[in-house]
């Protein structure tokens, strides 16, 4: 394999590993704030128990996100020097604002949020929790701005082959940014909702009868059921936006080769780039035209439009985009069925007496958010190829000239480390859940609520 493909695989592996953890922390930060505010309002210990359990998972996820994020900021230089050299004038300020307005905020207040509960006043601790959650969201915003600009660039001009910014408002509020931002925030919310529901279900299955775990199961299911319809709506709008700006990507997602009306919705197929057609196609007539153009004879773009006259293919490889999209949608549908089914069961049996089968299914779906998120990112990022910045910079023009042997070495190194860390991460979450189940009542002291008197918290030795 050549340096280009290996570098793509390496960056893909890094960014895939990285996104798992921000996907956790973005929404988990807000969830922790919710637990903390419920505790402040009710004084009920179960909310603090929930906070204490999930803040550990937050800390672990945050650390994983930090270290894998640092890796990426270096890989821009080691593997993709052409990226910053060409679009640095746009990408640079956006990344700088991410680091300065968000990254530092989260990293500094994380220390207070994790270890400061006994050192600062309760409201300061609540405030630190808020600032960490706010920081992760700001971080998401800036990164999504840059990513969206790479898909739908505007507000710039080319001088001597280098991008120069002309209108920052256009750059920041580029056409796909609002859709992508909402889509990602909801994805994070769903990932966390299903993780919380899944881990709570696991603890119930293991015999945990605490009020905290019943409450978190309820919170997880309700959050999942509430967010999934919004996500389906946001995803649909995002897709229509992509159709407008990146039709080649949509053609690959739909597995549609010829532009025309009455395009069927392909449920399953094996796209064949050699014959430029689908094998084993199962499709609903007129479906794609109906979804994308809201009429049966709506004209839907096909992949064959994106082959230049000299035969150069200017659309992404079809199979990964096509399958990625189906995995994402399929997972989303499973989430819809499960969370709404869970809602019905909650009403009927209550969180403490859920049928075992349902608990098993929830536990099995704990990490479903990861699958959907990764599949969605693969769809959109591979779908942008052969461009790194749509229409401005081709991926092959940005890669560094280090030898392929060198990239092989580092790629294998990263993959080994990442595989080991994912196993350790899931292992630790399971271990913490088991420990919490078996009565290891982690905190043993009384927490002051926001309004309560201070003496109880001034015990630094504890």
């Amino acid at each position: 394999m050549d340096t280009l493909l290996l570098s793509r695989i390496q960056f893909g592996a890094n960014i895939s590993f990285h996104i798992l953890f921000p996907t956790m922390t973005i929404a988990l930060g807000w969830m922790l704030l919710f637990f903390k505010l419920r505790f402040n309002a009710t004084g009920d210990r179960k909310w603090m128990d929930a906070y204490m359990f999930w803040v550990k998972i937050f800390a672990l996820s945050f650390a994983m996100g930090v270290v894998s994020g640092i890796t990426m900021s270096f890989q821009f230089g080691t593997n993709w020097p052409g990226f910053m050299e060409t679009v640095g004038n746009v990408a640079g300020p956006l990344l700088a604002y991410e680091i300065m307005t968000a990254f530092f905020l989260e990293a500094v207040f994380l220390g207070i949020m994790l270890f400061g509960a006994s050192r600062v006043k309760p409201w300061v601790h609540t405030m630190a929790t808020f600032l960490v959650a706010f920081g992760t969201t700001m971080s998401t915003f800036w990164i999504i701005v840059l990513n969206s600009w790479m898909h739908t660039p505007q507000g710039f001009e080319l001088r001597d082959g280098v991008v120069h910014a002309t209108d920052w408002l256009q750059i920041i509020f580029n056409p796909s940014m609002p859709y992508r931002f909402v889509h990602m925030m909801l994805a994070s919310g769903l990932t966390v909702a299903f993780l919380i529901a899944g881990v709570s279900a696991l603890r119930l299955l293991w015999g945990d009868r605490s009020e905290a775990v019943k409450s978190t199961l309820r919170v997880g299911i309700i959050a999942g059921a509430g967010l999934i319809p919004l996500q389906i709506l946001a995803g649909d709008m995002h897709g229509l936006n992509t159709l407008e700006y990146q039709p080649a990507k949509v053609a690959a997602m739909e597995g549609n080769w010829e532009t025309g009306p009455n395009v069927p919705l392909v449920l399953f197929a094996v796209p064949n780039q050699q014959t430029r057609s689908n094998d084993f196609e199962v499709a609903i007539p007129n479906g794609a035209s109906l979804i994308l153009k809201h009429s049966a004879d709506g004209v839907v773009p096909g992949l064959n439009d994106f082959v230049s006259e000299d035969g150069e293919i200017m659309h992404p490889r079809v199979a990964p985009v096509f399958y990625g999209f189906r995995v994402m949608v399929g997972t989303g549908m499973a989430m819809l069925a499960l969370s709404w089914g869970g809602l019905v069961l909650l009403r009927r049996y209550g969180a403490g007496n859920m049928p075992k089968l349902a608990l098993y299914v929830f536990a099995g779906m704990s990490f479903s958010g990861w699958i959907a998120t990764l599949a969605g990112w693969y769809t959109t990022e591979i779908g942008r190829q052969p461009w790194l910045v749509q229409g401005v910079l081709a991926t092959k023009d940005a890669v560094s000239d280090v030898s392929s042997g060198m990239v092989w070495t580092t790629l294998v190194g990263y993959l080994v480390i990442y595989a080991a860390l994912i196993i350790a991460y899931i292992g630790v979450i399971t271990y913490l859940a088991r420990k919490a189940t078996h009565g290891d009542r982690l905190p043993t002291r009384d927490y002051p609520t926001a309004g309560a008197a201070a003496p109880a918290m001034l015990q630094p030795g504890e």
Partner: protein, 336 residues
């Protein structure tokens, strides 16, 4: 060159200064984090927990300075960023693996099942070691102009060892500040053992730097420039002498002077860094690309600068706040 009238001059200069500041803050702050990690094998099980506790609330934010430094290099000097990082491809990889291991082990040693704790302690140490060695190696390669010749690599291996020992030294001085009792006595012993790394490191780079190019040689030994440079070696020698003397007299009653080794070590890092910055200016890639040649378009730099002027004081402010909240001797890390 009228320095502060032309934006194509003062903006790159300002960003070089900001980048230098970030690197310096990173080297001091994560230097003591990494140094504490390097001391892990010397500590017993209970002391290991205290070692980790002493850096627990800080290390995430400390590492962020590296992201800011590399971010400024990336956004303000894109060609230099590409050139430096592609020529340091493998050491960067090893540093990243080291930082990953260190950060993750930090969390996992406390959260994974107890039987795994030794393993995560070991990987916490290994990660700190790998990161420190590769940073020292990159420092050496950078000083020698990023050319992969045999003698340069040998030199870089030396600076790798020296910086690593230097980090363990500043880590030990941090522990003197943040611990008491038996552990503090151990830390004083570790600091005595580690100070030579700092001396040799500063010495080796000082010996090599003027011979990298005639330009730097002239900057050092030409008149009157030599007089400007003179305070650096004089102050450094004074500080080293002070440390040598003070470490033999610690601990004192009421913990007096416990702060002085860390402050002196920090001052030494600042001086060494200042000397390097003075020597290499105006080059961002030694003897190849100047900061002015590598700089991004002025209008892009300006938009970052506007934000920086608002945000950097805030970052410094809440960094100080965090150190203030967790001031005093380190206590066992607890989430409640």
């Amino acid at each position: 060159m009228s320095l502060f009238s032309d934006p194509a001059v003062w903006l790159p200069w300002t960003f070089a200064a900001l980048m230098g500041l970030s690197i310096l803050i990173y080297v001091v702050l994560d230097g003591f984090d990494l140094g504490v990690g390097l001391l892990m094998p010397l500590a017993d099980a209970r002391e290991k927990d205290m070692l980790v506790a002493s850096i627990g609330p800080f290390w995430d934010a400390n590492e962020t300075w590296l992201v800011l430094a590399i971010g400024i290099l990336l956004v303000a000097f894109p060609p230099a960023h590409g050139l430096i990082l592609t020529s340091l491809y493998l050491p960067v990889f090893f540093m990243l693996i080291g930082l990953i291991l260190r950060g993750v082990s930090f969390e996992l040693r406390a959260k994974a099942p107890p039987r795994q704790k030794n393993m995560w302690n070991a990987s916490f140490f290994a990660g700190s070691l790998l990161a420190a060695l590769s940073q020292g190696f990159m420092l050496g390669m950078y000083v020698m102009g990023l050319e992969w010749t045999r003698s340069n690599v040998a030199f870089a291996m030396l600076t790798a060892v020296f910086l690593t020992v230097g980090y363990s030294f500043i880590g030990a001085t941090w522990l003197i500040l943040k611990t008491d009792g038996a552990l503090q006595s151990h830390a004083i012993r570790w600091a005595k053992g580690g100070i030579w790394g700092l001396i040799m490191g500063i010495g080796a780079i000082s010996l090599a730097t003027p011979f990298v190019s005639a330009r730097i040689f002239d900057k050092w030994f030409g008149m009157p420039q030599m007089l400007y440079l003179l305070p650096f070696p004089v102050l450094s020698a004074t500080l080293i002498g002070f440390l040598w003397w003070k470490l033999r007299r610690l601990p004192r009653e009421n913990d007096r002077w416990a702060w002085s080794p860390f402050v002196s070590a920090t001052a030494l890092f600042v001086l060494a860094f200042g000397g390097m910055a003075y020597s290499f200016y105006p080059y961002v890639v030694p003897e190849q690309i100047t900061i002015y040649e590598a700089a991004s378009a002025p209008e892009s730099l300006l938009i970052i600068l506007v934000g920086t002027l608002f945000v950097l004081p805030a970052i410094l402010g809440y960094t100080v706040l965090s150190y203030y909240i967790f001031r005093g001797k380190a206590t066992e890390l607890r989430y409640d």
